[in-house]
């Protein structure tokens, strides 16, 4: 291959966009259309879609506005990953394509489909409202405009990253639990709730937290990290979810939800035994009745295969575990001191 051919291949290529199509007024089910277009290097997926709409098929429907990664309107699934079309380079996607020179474009998942690449955002907005994800001012309304809040840098840093969220719903689209149950709160809503709960100007923390620990709330997250990995603003969303959990345990204790009891069991076992005793974890999380009802038939099969108790070999020598317990206890002292310092401030 001569240098000029390589050069040409790099600067301009024929690319197939395999685009999800669905018009509920005429189509019984979704299908894919292939649009083969020649593109210059440096073009984004959004510009390619605009080109298709202008020159190839005016019926192709998608949402877009700012073209600069700010408004979040053009989130869609590109090559099996939710992202913004306006900040995604065609050349970068070609390097990842499963089929050479083909880029697959689909609507976001986990939200109702309206047409082609457009989804309904209302369910997300409704959930945001359901958890009162705005600042409920600590200042009474009749004093508004006469008093001001001073926000320290330290306080601002707690939610600085969370405020980068542009509500594009990429994380919502990739969420494992939302895919399994549409009632689930969803990562974008948890991120926003966290952001409000750590805001010192807000007065709704307690009520919001009480809502977040209910069914389909913060404890249902399965730690798959797909939300964080798909976030177009690189926000550590799992830190926010874990932040709400930490707050829930600190404010509400560990007994009120199965999620908190489950988490606490890890702490208890490590403190006492060094190792997790999985055999009794279901009972400690959900009680005897739930465990008998839900797990007994399976436990029976597992026992037959030798898969359940005896419990794990705990930390071997007595000397080791005693030293470990002392260390654990010493750290408990540090944590208590930290807490006293924090509340004293």
């Amino acid at each position: 291959m001569s240098d000029s051919v390589i050069h040409q291949k790099e600067e301009s290529r024929e690319v197939t966009f395999r685009v999800h199509r669905f018009n509920p007024q005429v189509d019984s089910k979704p299908y894919f259309d292939d649009y083969k277009i020649r593109l210059e290097k440096g073009i984004t997926v959004l510009r390619a879609l605009n080109y298709i709409k202008e020159h190839v098929d005016a019926s192709l429907t998608f949402r877009a506005f700012c073209q600069a990664g700010i408004c979040g309107s053009c989130a869609m699934r590109i090559n099996n990953m939710s992202k913004l079309a306006c900040t995604t380079q065609v050349w970068d996607e070609l390097a990842k394509s499963r089929e050479p020179d083909v880029i697959k474009v689909e609507p976001l998942r986990n939200l109702p489909l309206i047409k082609d690449l457009v989804v309904e955002m209302d369910p997300l907005v409704e959930k945001m409202k359901g958890y009162s994800n705005w600042v409920e001012s600590r200042i009474p309304e009749d004093e508004w405009g006469r008093k001001e809040f001073l926000v320290s840098e330290e306080e601002f840093l707690k939610y600085d990253k969370a405020t980068d969220c542009i509500l594009c719903a990429s994380c919502v689209s990739e969420c494992t639990i939302l895919r399994a149950n549409k009632e689930y709160v969803s990562p974008a809503v948890l991120l926003k709730s966290y952001r409000m709960n750590v805001d010192g100007r807000d007065s709704f923390h307690e009520q919001r937290l009480a809502g977040l620990v209910k069914d389909h709330g913060v404890w249902d997250c399965t730690h798959c990290y797909r939300c964080q990995e798909s976030c177009v603003k690189h926000i550590p969303i799992m830190d926010a979810i874990h932040g709400i959990r930490e707050d829930a345990i600190a404010e509400r204790g560990t007994r009120d939800t199965s999620g908190a009891r489950h988490a606490e069991a890890f702490m208890e076992d490590i403190e006492k035994k060094g190792k997790l005793v999985e055999a009794t974890l279901p009972i400690r999380t959900n009680g005897v009745v739930w465990t008998m009802k839900n797990l007994l038939p399976m436990a029976f099969k597992m026992v037959l295969k030798g898969r359940t108790p005896p419990p794990p070999q705990l930390v071997k020598s007595t000397k080791d575990i005693e030293k470990f317990r002392e260390e654990f206890k010493e750290m408990t002292g540090h944590v208590a001191k930290d807490h006293a310092k924090k509340t004293g401030e």
Binding site: N80, I177, D220, Y225, Q228, H262, I270, M302, S317, F324
Partner: protein, 282 residues
């Protein structure tokens, strides 16, 4: 014989004992030796980090420091232990204050966290240290008859800021290893998705939906088996398989193997030796 400090995951000492058993069988065939870290404790299983971040740092600094004392890398064969211990290591490496606080306590046991030992998954050791060509050369019974659905599990891939070895959404490492063992892998959506393990006791219905969807896709793609590098994924996909598929109305079933078992099969060990008969779906 290259040695590693081997972290004993709680689940591999109870429900999935076949994992450590199979590694012990073939480790010397591949020129590696896993030295068990008997004094290690539970990593916190992706839960302790928010129950008490400082205890989380202490416990895992101690686990890593025990490997450092031996001058060896810490190797784990559970995805969640990998992610959890690596994320503690990242926090410790990034904060001198946390390191000092933890070391002040560990010092009384003669331990010190220095950050000198890496924390790695068995899969990574096989690919990077033993090498795919060397493994290929040792295969006695190629897995060529098997159409395999690789199931990576989340915590060997994500968060990529902590793991960073593979593409978190388009991984290839397990496929490469299975290829070296002579197997044919399929490309399917669920290979990088979640098994639902971490919500099994908190949101069982959702977890079973997640597991059923993954199992069904592998069945629909006509895979002969699923292979996973994570004993937690195995517990859901094997142990809860019947319950998950019954709930979703499916009549299929599919065997699920641990990574360590298929390595053993390819190296010539049989199902009984490897503990495969302990699985629920056989």
């Amino acid at each position: 014989m290259k040695q590693y400090a081997y972290y004993q995951s709680c689940i591999n000492e109870s429900m999935t004992r076949e994992v450590d058993r199979s590694i012990e069988l073939w480790q010397h065939d591949l020129g590696i030796e896993m030295v068990k870290l008997h004094e290690s404790t539970c990593c916190g299983g992706s839960n302790l980090d928010y129950v008490s971040p400082k205890h989380f740092a202490l416990v895992n600094a101690r686990n890593i420091a025990a490997a450092e004392k031996m001058g060896l890398d810490l190797v784990v064969s559970c995805n969640t232990c990998l992610m959890t211990i690596r994320s503690a290591k990242k926090k410790l490496d990034e904060s001198e204050a946390l390191r000092n606080e933890v070391n002040e306590i560990l010092g009384k046991e003669g331990l010190e966290y220095r950050g000198t030992s890496d924390v790695r998954h068995l899969l990574w050791v096989l690919i990077d240290d033993v090498g795919l060509d060397a493994i290929r050369g040792k295969v006695k019974v190629p897995l060529s008859k098997l159409r395999i659905a690789p199931f990576y599990g989340c915590h060997i891939l994500r968060p990529s800021s902590v793991l960073g070895k593979d593409n978190p959404m388009e991984p290839t490492s397990l496929d490469q290893l299975l290829d070296a063992l002579g197997g044919k892998t399929i490309n399917y959506d669920h290979k990088n998705r979640c098994c639902g393990f971490h919500t099994l006791l908190v949101a069982e219905e959702e977890s079973l939906n997640v597991a059923a969807e993954a199992l069904q896709e592998a069945i629909d793609e006509k895979a002969d088996c699923i292979v996973t590098p994570c004993p937690l994924c195995h517990t859901v996909l094997d142990g809860y398989q019947a319950k998950a598929l019954k709930k979703s109305g499916s009549h299929g079933s599919i065997p699920v193997y641990h990574l360590s078992e298929v390595v053993g099969l390819a190296l010539g060990y049989n199902e009984r030796q490897l503990g495969i008969r302990r699985h629920i779906v056989t």
